[in-house]
Symmetry: C2
Subunit: 269 residues, 2 copies
Amino acid sequence: MNRSSLVQQIREKKSYLCVGLDTDIDKIPAHLREDKNAILNFNKAIIDATRDYCVSYKINTAFYEAMGAKGWEIMAETAAYIPSTHFSIADAKRADIGNTSSYYARAFFEELGFDAVTVAPYMGEDSLSPFLSYTNKWTIVLGLTSNPGARDFELQKLQHSGEYLYEHVIRTVSQWGNPGNLMFVAGATQASELGRIRNIIPENFLLVPGVGFQGGSLKDVSEYGMNEECGLLVNASRAIIYASNDERFAEEAAIIAQQYQAEMSLYFG
Amino acid sequence: MNRSSLVQQIREKKSYLCVGLDTDIDKIPAHLREDKNAILNFNKAIIDATRDYCVSYKINTAFYEAMGAKGWEIMAETAAYIPSTHFSIADAKRADIGNTSSYYARAFFEELGFDAVTVAPYMGEDSLSPFLSYTNKWTIVLGLTSNPGARDFELQKLQHSGEYLYEHVIRTVSQWGNPGNLMFVAGATQASELGRIRNIIPENFLLVPGVGFQGGSLKDVSEYGMNEECGLLVNASRAIIYASNDERFAEEAAIIAQQYQAEMSLYFG
């Protein structure tokens, strides 16, 4: 999916919601767990219930890797079920030396067919370039993350410029791609920094986790992070997929997703 | 495997060699490729041929993820074939917010049963603590990596201390674990920095990639990086597993592994 298609979807649906399918067998409704396809069925029901209110789905690979090869299959089948109208993200936070990164890119872009994959920037340019070399695919690089540990390294100031490491990462990496193939992760819990981020990268989309369970404010994120083409994909996972843990899990997920979309339509209608 | 067992293995074998099983179906000998268990059979043959000369095996998950769920199965079967006498490493370079990292830890420590997993430090303490919370398991954190991109961020100086980011990472992370559960990655191509690293962490083991194909010097690595309990696991993959691409692939791999061990015995005999 290219940028103009993504922006068109956002405009049509008045939504920049990404639903995270971080599905844990121990947390899905009890009545589903006996089924040998429990997780896949849960994911499909969530997708069916929420697709009208969101423009994107994100699958965090950790939850599926914890289940072994079977988990990888479930992830692949879930990815295949995501409608082609929706922007699909493998939240894998991968990276390695260049040669090895090319295998990660093959895994997510070719084998699993995702539109986008999240990557970690620590190892620098040659670790990211294999991802960026794909046409019609997106690389989403960690910038300022939503968790408390962001203060340990991301919010350390660099000697030569006095800017934070995360600013230097965004500034540097933004030169290795363009607003048509490169996004950055910026945590919703860090909304006050979004203005600083927008000064560095006015055009690139931001993937914004941390609204919902982690406590970030959608209003602040939208106020500080939005640009003329929206430029945001705001992710919620647990608040939506675990909205209810009984037979109404899909209907309740839809209600929460719709609430997010309704609020989003006020900010980017 | 705890630290004293690992050190004992190194002393007995006079080797600190780790063999990397970065196996690509397009690069293994042609005569094997027809077999539907080609990669697993290749890995088993390499393990059988090299086990006397090394103390550790490292599986880089990217090569297996590129093959989908089938690749994950091959990785699991390969991991199960690694002898219990050998220190097994999942080279996954994972990390995520705390809750999610715990699923990665479960995947590699429990589901796949590896002794150790490599992790990326960018997201800070809570992203690493789920790994460090396991007893009798090891977390190997990226420090100064072997690739050219190390200069982009790892070799940036920080304002408050004037030290490199990678030094600050090692210094900070070393306080979150101890020499019995925490190692760092230091590239062989960065041997001149190993002395600086040893000043910060005299005790922790270092996983050292980059000898062999990437051109690092085993002699320099050993001179600058070794401590009284050796403190090094030096990895070679392509130089060993692709030493030959015909029917003699396992014998040739054994010869190269033995050459490394012979040289190592001069440095830590």
